[in-house]
Amino acid sequence: MAPFYKTGYFSEPTSFVIAFLIGIGFGFWLERAGFGNARVLAAQFYFKKMTVLQVMFTAIITAMIGLLIFSLFGWIDLDLVYINPTFIWPQIIGGVILGTGMVVSGFCPGTSIVSCATGRIDAYFYLGGALFGMFLFGEIYPLIEGFHKTGAMGRMTLDNWMNISLGMAGFIVILLAIGMFWGGEWLVKKFGEKETAQ
């Protein structure tokens, strides 16, 4: 029964090897999509490309559908899958700050690692900034610790929050994604430029 690490199939050191291999997959696909280049990510916010939206939502619904199907067949115990606890206010504010940083820098932490690995100098500057920003966060933490924990809703998922079944929630997400893809394609047709490799 999956998740196999949590049902005792292998040890922690083995899980680290798996982490490394999965990380390779993660970095590989990010670079394949073009995120080694900050301009590809930034283009999302000018409707020139929809790569961020397309990759992100496709990945989300792929993994989500996988989880739902495996759960349906009794192959995975969803209760053992880690779900990010919800702290609604810091996540909203943090999200806005992060989105701002994303369009200013053209990176998010994951894509910056890929960009650094492929030699982009701007990624190194970003990484320095990100590490510094995290340092700042830690330094002022005593002042914001309270806020950091507000809006705590624990392990809250969309289906619980909207009081619908898991399958229904998944279905809505898929509809949302399709709507975004369709809208995205339209926006790029209007504002985008011809796809060229940078």
């Binding site: 997959g25 496709t58 899958v81 919800t86 996540q91 992060l98 369009v103 590490l131």
Partner: protein, 170 residues
């Protein structure tokens, strides 16, 4: 080597989604990036002053006395991300020592933007308990409410500010 075009984003997204699913199935957790970075930051700080780290309610979790900072799933995952990115770059002829920037600014201005944006993101990521990979991607797939709120806030924030920094990109 002739540089190849990027993959179709939907196909790359499926590849990424399968990788994420594999993580859930094998280890019961998803991907992440900033969690490894905060460990690096905390560790570096501890080499300057362990007592400072021990006295800080945030850093102490990652590099307090007795904490094995790098014995962590994300640290190994992130090393893999660098390797995977490198391999893909190698195969596609996209390994280059250069700075990516729009046609109307210089590399040096770009570096300043990258650094400044980085500071914002580093701060925002820890405030939000993760970044795009840990919250939007992973949390999104598990339907976590806070993660979805984060995702919408991220796009909202980005689109709001995009106009003001367009000189850098367009």
């Amino acid at each position: 080597m002739e540089q190849k075009k990027y993959w179709n984003p939907y196909l790359a997204g499926i590849g990424l989604g399968i990788t994420l699913l594999l993580a859930f199935v094998l280890v019961g957790r998803g991907l992440g990036s900033s969690g490894a970075m905060i460990r690096v930051v905390s560790w570096i700080t501890s080499t300057f002053s362990q007592s400072h780290v021990d006295a800080n309610p945030y850093f102490v979790k990652y590099a307090g006395s007795g904490v094995n900072t790098f014995q962590n799933w994300l640290v190994f995952e992130v090393i893999g991300v660098a390797v995977g990115g490198f391999i893909s770059g190698l195969l596609s002829g996209r390994l280059k020592f250069k700075t990516e920037h729009g046609p109307n600014i210089t590399s040096k201005i770009r570096w300043i933007y990258a650094f400044a944006g980085g500071i914002l993101m580093g701060f925002g990521a820890r405030l939000a308990y993760g970044c795009a990979s840990g919250q939007a991607l992973t949390g999104g797939a598990t339907l976590a409410l806070g993660s979805w709120a984060f995702m919408f806030s991220l796009f909202g924030g980005g689109y709001l500010v995009a106009y003001f920094v367009r000189r850098q990109w367009l």
